[in-house]
Amino acid sequence: MEKNKPVIDPQDVVIHVDNVSKSFGDLHILRDVDLKLYNRENLVVLGRSGTGKSVLIKMISGLLMPDAGSIRVLGQEVTALSEKELQKLRLRIGFSFQNSALYDSMTVRENLEFPLVRNKRNLSRAEIDREVEDVLEGVGLSQAINQMPSELSGGQRKRIGIARTLILRPDIMLYDEPTAGLDPITCLEINNLINDVQARYNTSSIIITHDLACAKQVSDRMVMLLDGRFERQGTFHEIFDTDDARVKPFYDYNFIR
């Protein structure tokens, strides 16, 4: 199921991670990492558990600060922004969390409304309802609108989580393991959703995953985090055209060799 790849302009960089390092105590997670995300591209980040993939995208959205290096998002240096400026920038970045992070004291509707109500205070009730129903339909879960997150399955929660970030129409989407722990059919639905979002809203996305089927289906380009660095990058086929013992098992496991 190959997708239509968008035309990428290598001059048009939306995220530039430049020479970034991050440690927690004595634990060096990322070492002089470089990464570029081009406009309208789906970039897949591969890497083993605990290599710092989540840490990387948390730094991109300013949830964590790097120890060294610079991160430019949509032309702004994240590490140098004030609280207010960062808040404004974040509205243009959608973050889909590894475990969905739905507000579990709120219904699905309230979850989806939350970013809208809080950031666009001049919207009328009818406009809010329309937006909510719109994104909910986009992820195919219109019937769940009045349910609590605890009543949803993992896949449904993932989709609601994605819907909640889409409601602000972000320019950039960061997906943290969107298909982890889901059955193959739901995975397929999520993959289609990711491609759909890219085509419909013209977003540029970083997708973190261990799931090579997902990677193959959604990626325009892939990078692989090995030993704290992005050592390999390219298309799906370029990445796995190697005998590197750190890379091959990914492929062999996913495609049952």
């Binding site: 970045i93 973050f95 969390f97 809080r118």
Partner: protein, 268 residues
Amino acid sequence: MTCFWFRSVLEKQLISMWKKIRVLLLEFAKIHRFLMRFFREVVSPPFEFKEFIRQCYEIGWKSFPLISLTGFIVGFVFTKQSRPSLEEFGASSMIPALISIAIVRALAPLVTALIGSGKIGSQIGAELSSMNVTEQIDAMEVSGTNPFKFLIVSRVLATTFMIPVLTFYVAGIGLMGGYLSIISKDQLSMLSFFSQVFNTIKMVDVFAMTFRALVFGFTIGFVSTYVGYFSSKGTEGVGKAANSAVVASMFIVFIEELLIVQLLSLLT
């Protein structure tokens, strides 16, 4: 040889002690930053008024049943237990005066704060730490809402406001309990009971009660939000946070009570 051994043991002890002190000092620095941030955010707009009201409802209103029962029992039992010793001196007519002083000066704020630490502290501690564990706080932050304002400030303000309200209520209901205890033995009209009560209580006692309640309310809110907000990740962090929110706020409430009593006796 033994001397050498002794020195190395001593060295190890000193090092481990220094490490503990360092951890403690770092914790104090963190608490200080949290406190400063609270005061900064509390005065800078936008104000989360709706969330404050919602928290007042969650924290205050939902505590009324429990606090009514406890307040009543404390008043009732205290009166019943004081009666024999007062009767011995033939001073049973002093009972209303005695219980009003006991309730307003000590029991009402303390009972409210302790029940509040248990009920409200554990509620806030568990809620915030589970939001922390499941990254809901991060999610709030990346969707353009300041979680410190929305979650912390609103809760601390709500406890600071609601604990005094509950304290006044407990004082009232405790006095009612006392009255019922009295009339189970003696004849006394409610009017003369309450006129004795209000003749005994001075304005300064009411102020002192309000002051205590404000301090306790702030303490409960501050301690339990701090513990919940910085809870360790993982599900066992939630239980731990709920637990230490209760223990720490109760402990600090007692310390403060001690200090406030000293302070008031200096002032009056």
